[in-house]
Symmetry: C2
Subunit: 768 residues, 2 copies
């Protein structure tokens, strides 16, 4: 019966009970980057998967290989559940409240994207139950719940058991290697009292203090090692609802820290109690008002996408806002998918959005990468490389990838991090960050590329044996994405060493090093097939055997679950945008004609078995004039977590795809580019979408851009701003506005896609 | 104190106690291909690793991957110990005999290569102990031991406990991924009696019946689930030795077989008892006399190599003689290394030797591959390929490789099997085999290549994304070894379909198929670097970065234990002969000048981190006129297991390297080639080696070839024989001899090898 209701601009509403509990729990997850609560029901049952996450609370797990090799990681890190403070068990006239039993007349949940709350209304038997849950943005360690029970027409006996519960039972992991390896009872109790539990993980040595307080009618508190329970028994009369305000706060850190974690958790909780639930609500809304003011995207003509882009931005904010000094994981704090690891999508998808909408947290995210430099240097030494080699997947900074051809070999992650540093440095103008953290990342990653690059007889430099974003090829020579991003990395490092010469000297950068970086960058191979007149994803790609799409059945996708790598790696079949993503991030390296030819060539070979693909394809489709197709890809990315159904997001949302909706709109239809730190726009909107408006920050300016199919209006506030519009410089004083005509775009039919793999025609859906 | 004594022509003698028990147990292992006993001492302690192996007695073990992929094998097979019948515990005047205690005055063991026995003589305290052990070639299920105790100067009280013991304690596995995963107590007792134990493996469902009988003075027999013990207590007087003859026989099979395995084991044992130990000895010698008559190799001028080539041939025979209907494992039955798996070395190294020396077992070995066709077809279907895809490593025929880039991707194993079929078919003229088994293997492997091959714009066919013999590159395009062997496979399949058209029709070979095979074969890419004028190991190899050998330290070898694949795969560093092996097996595809250039080029880049390398390098060194270098490589291969010391062979002998000694001599100095089923010779012997003599079989002929530095004499017996000598046809009547002059060879200094990796100069060792 349950489903996401019709699109509303600022609310995601679920009407009835969810069909897929795990999926709904991800969609309705609340988080602030520091603490995350999956959208479980208040009562313990039913549930898909519990989920109370503290950023970087993880346990170690051994990795074993049938045939191990040198430098294969011997252990991994797995996100684990913190004590769950969401639980409120209701008993009505001795009958436990369970949505699966009794007389359920109404069940509705709303994720309010401006309030930053999850609100629930239930009518069940003789009572109405409402709950409102938040994970506070301004108070990063705090979550709070208001739980109310109202007697509808007669007095009812009510019992509430409100728990803070450690070591909850977990469901068995699903049979998917990408899902998390769940650890049972990962927490060992150190101490417990009426208002705080202290636990420690068994192997990773992380201590967690969890405190809880209840504001309500008087009740009883009991405490044991893994549980604090507040119990309240009363009779509720019609017109006089029973209210329980529950405040939870966490503090955690490595075992050898001297911090009084229990004291911190209690103090943070007490502060929240003192402020009260209403104040927490108000502060939450203020925080979000400020965010939306410079982050909101409006799209007329497609209400579902309108809703989805805000939903996506909200979850991107939830993943990143208070993440520092910890990483931003691929699933944010919405599930335990990918073991809670962060991957390259953080720097390549999530941080670009936050750089333009909420830059403060980007600096912290990159400072986390800076703090992880010692581990990356150690890994580089272990791999017999130079500089730093960042992990493919990690929580703490240690490499946790168990399949090296699509992990360790994907060295582009290092250039992706450098790219995020360069973007943030340019957009935020944060010189302190560059001096304290950014430059060192640039230098150490440049050293990696310089060590890897190999000059051939003709003076061309090669990066051999690496894996690009497309995981359907691996260990290739001269992956063009990697080479172009490494080029940017090398040049950026040289440029910033020039800008910060003293700091460069401190980092031991010799006079020769930047010259070598420049030379390497200038001579890196960029594979090109002369006969087909198209760039190659890697050297020799266009010579490989074509995939037989005509014989590939629908249920053969995703291909990686039905074909061996042996088959995938040696064919022209692309899992996800690779060269196409390079044409977004390094669009300056291609002519428009080259982009069109390459886009068309790779469209025919890209199957989108990764959610990272559609956003990049949307951007390039827009740039090459395939505006309808761009809308199709935009919609695919936008509806993935919210409306695609099924179990796809059961282990957590695709935060990068959430960010990708913004990318598709702002970089695609808005034409935002930032090559070499230069802000530029080339908007283009299909005629069936009347208006796109987006805002962004650039240093101390805010820019508001309104695009129609024929015009664009730029409005600048706070400070003057210069940028390019279709290659022409535009200088706008703060408080001024300019409206410019857009060049006409001839709408074109989409180029051929692999049989059966074209995205759904969005206009067909809208016309229905 | 202990060591292998000075080289004797027909005996390997150990004087004193071995320093490395595990190593000695491998060297002194006895086997017949069906049953194998490691060379453990008679008494239970001390031991390096027990070892009583029955070919294909294995247990299943789960394979788990940190990140699994489609068609990654989910379980492997591990060789396990059968009940150990070697054990004889001696107590002398209440003191247990242990070589580590008491007065040990003499300890000597002899592996007699003509008698096929391991003989031991010990003087310890008041007694002399002698034992003689054999694993019967003519009675494949039978092992026998004669154990004698002699009082030296006064009567002594003797107790003998002779055991047949199941589920022995095993040492912990060494920390080397190549070693076996030892399974504790793998056998479950089904029944036991005074003379036969019946067990079954827990998961693989193999039933083993082990029977024992003792012929001696009267004693007592006790039996329990895992042990039959014969105990004898007596007083031994000087001049009247106590003798115990112990006979053990095994029968085993899958659990659902209806065979009376216990009955079979008892019957075989009883036959052996009836024959008696002396008769077993006589039959053993007769069998070996016959073998040596057409297999022996004599080399004057290097006694250690002379001994080693016989030692190697003996162990090759021990691995293969009675292996059918089971596989010949990489370690034979001398240890549990590689989990007891067979790999491609069987077809590419071991079977060629047996084809010319003991062809009967080659037909059986290849019939085993034929029996494994259903599994190979199933694997091909799983891998979305066509025809058959044989496993990289296996016992039963199922793929057991846990690292696919150096396992599943090494598809050349299929062509190696086809090559062995073609060689055996030509050399043995066994048409029945071709009809019943060989042709189907050829056809199914040809279908694999035809499916894999991809035609480019220029009409060149490619085999992309495969791994050749050199495991320091992987997933490459157009590995030249693979392409050339696939070419032979395709052409051979077409040719034999023409020779056996009815059988081909039965196999569903259409008229078009052989044409497609021919076309594919004729157009397969053979990478060549025009600038360097040298063939490439794979497309682009010569463009890769060079390895920095100057900075690589001695203890950085083997490189795979000290560098990541990431580093190895993208450089010009070669673990083992690959292109060089192709120039041996497909020498017809290269001109002499191409061979010399390629040999020199790859010599400079080959580190020989595999024992498979030196034999192939020896052969090509001889062919290209580097005769001293050929001798160096010959000696390295020859002395590896016998005199290299250390733990290298502790898990079992390198049977392929044992075969490689013959290769180095007969294909190297003898210049034997068999391209396209045509026997040819081009002998060349360095001036410091006076004489090489070898014998071989070709169909019903035996050929005896005697090479000196200046002449060669061919003597044919049994039947007329035609072959080529330096490209010229020679037709010899049975019983005739011809002596021909050899072209002079200008001795050349060895081409450069990687720093520190040149083989030891054998002449220097001989001159000392």
């Amino acid at each position: 019966m349950g489903e996401i209701g019709p699109a509303e601009p600022w609310v995601v509403r679920e009407i009835g009970l969810p069909d897929e509990l795990r999926q709904a729990e991800s969609v309705f997850a609340l988080a602030n980057g520091h603490v995350g609560l999956r959208g479980n029901l208040d009562e313990p049952e039913p549930f898909g998967m519990p989920g109370t996450y503290l950023n970087s609370l993880y346990e170690h797990r051994d990795l074993t290989y049938p045939e191990a090799g040198y430098a294969f990681p011997e252990r991994t890190e797995t996100i684990i559940d913190a004590p769950n403070g969401k639980l409120v068990t209701l008993t009505v006239d001795d009958e436990p409240f369970d949505v699966r039993t009794g007389d359920l007349r109404r069940h509705e949940r709303c994720l309010d994207l401006r309030a930053g709350t999850l609100h629930r209304e239930v009518e069940w038997g003789p009572v109405r139950i409402t709950s409102t849950r938040l994970v506070s943005f301004p108070h990063p360690s705090v979550a709070a719940i208001r739980y109310e029970v109202e007697a509808l027409d007669r007095p009812v006996r009510i019992r509430l058991d409100s728990d803070l519960l450690a070591n909850e039972e977990q469901p068995e992991p699903r049979d998917d290697p990408r899902a998390s390896a769940v650890l049972h009872a990962p927490l060992r109790s150190l101490s417990h009292s009426d208002d705080v539990l202290v636990h420690r993980t068994r192997r990773s040595g992380i201590t967690v203090a969890s405190s809880v307080a209840h504001v309500s009618e008087p009740g009883e508190v009991s405490a044991e090692e893994d549980r604090i329970r507040f119990t309240l028994t009363t009779v509720v009369h019609p017109g006089t609802p029973l209210r329980l305000d529950k405040f939870v706060a966490y503090a955690w850190g490595t075992g050898d820290s001297d911090d009084d974690l229990a004291g911190t958790a209690v103090r943070d909780r007490d502060e929240a109690v003192r402020a009260g639930f209403e104040t927490l609500l108000d502060e939450q809304r203020d925080y979000l008002d400020d965010f939306w003011d410079s982050a909101d995207v409006e799209l007329d003509g497609d209400p579902e996408v309108q809703q989805a882009v805000r939903f996506g931005l909200f979850h991107v904010l939830q993943a990143g806002a208070q993440a520092g000094p910890h990483p931003i994981a691929a699933k944010g704090l919405t599930g335990n998918g990918y073991d809670g690891h962060m991957l390259w999508d953080t720097e390549s998808y999530v941080l670009p959005v936050l750089t333009y909408t909420h830059p403060a947290c980007v600096g912290l995210a990159l400072r986390w990468r800076h703090a992880a430099l010692p581990a990356a240097r150690e890994r580089a030494a272990e791999l017999r490389l130079a500089g730093a080699t960042y992990p493919w997947r990690t929580i703490s900074g240690a490499e946790c990838s168990g399949y090296w051809p699509a992990g360790t070999a994907a060295l582009h992650v290092n250039a992706d991090i450098a790219d995020a540093v360069l973007r943030y440095a340019a957009a935020a103008g944060d010189d302190t960050f560059v001096r304290e953290a950014g430059l060192e990342i640039l230098v150490e990653t440049a050293r990696l590329w310089c060590r890897l690059a190999h000059e051939d007889d003709a003076g061309v430099f090669h990066l051999d044996g690496v894996t690009g974003p497309d995981e359907y090829t691996a260990l290739v020579d001269d992956n063009i994405y990697t080479n172009l991003m490494a080029q940017r990395n090398l040049r950026g490092a040289a440029q910033y060493c020039e800008l910060f010469p003293e700091r460069a000297r401190d980092l031991g950068v010799s006079a020769d090093e930047p010259r070598a970086w420049q030379e390497t960058a200038d001579n890196l191979a960029l594979p090109y097939d002369n006969r087909r007149e198209v760039h190659e994803q890697h050297a020799g790609f266009a010579r490989l055997q074509e995939w037989d799409f005509a014989s590939t059945k629908d249920d053969d996708y995703p291909l990686m679950l039905h074909y061996p790598y042996l088959d995938l790696y040696r064919r022209q079949v692309v899992k996800q945008a690779d060269l196409v993503l390079a044409m977004v991030l390094r669009g300056d390296a291609f002519t428009p004609a080259e982009k069109t030819r390459a886009f068309e060539y790779y469209e025919a070979r890209t199957v989108r078995d990764s959610s990272l693909s559609a956003p990049a394809q949307a951007v390039l489709a827009a740039e090459t004039g395939y505006l309808e197709l761009a809308h199709d890809y935009l919609a695919e990315a936008a509806l993935l977590d919210l409306r695609a159904g099924g179990e796809a997001s059961g282990d957590g949302l695709h935060i990068a795809a959430c960010a990708g909706v913004w990318m598709a709109l702002v970089q695609g239809f808005g034409g935002l580019r930032d090559h070499d730190g230069q802000l530029s726009f080339a908007p283009r909107l299909p005629s069936h979408l009347p208006r796109l408006k987006f805002s962004l920050r650039w240093r101390y300016s805010r820019l508001h851009v309104t695009v129609t199919p024929t015009t664009v209006t730029y409005a600048v506030t706070d400070e003057d701003l210069s940028f390019h519009h279709y290659g022409e410089p535009v200088d706008l004083k703060a408080g001024t506005t300019v409206t410019l005509d857009l060049p006409p775009v001839e709408e074109k039919a989409a180029p051929p896609a692999p049989a059966g793999r074209a995205p759904a025609r969005r206009r067909d859906a809208l016309d229905r």
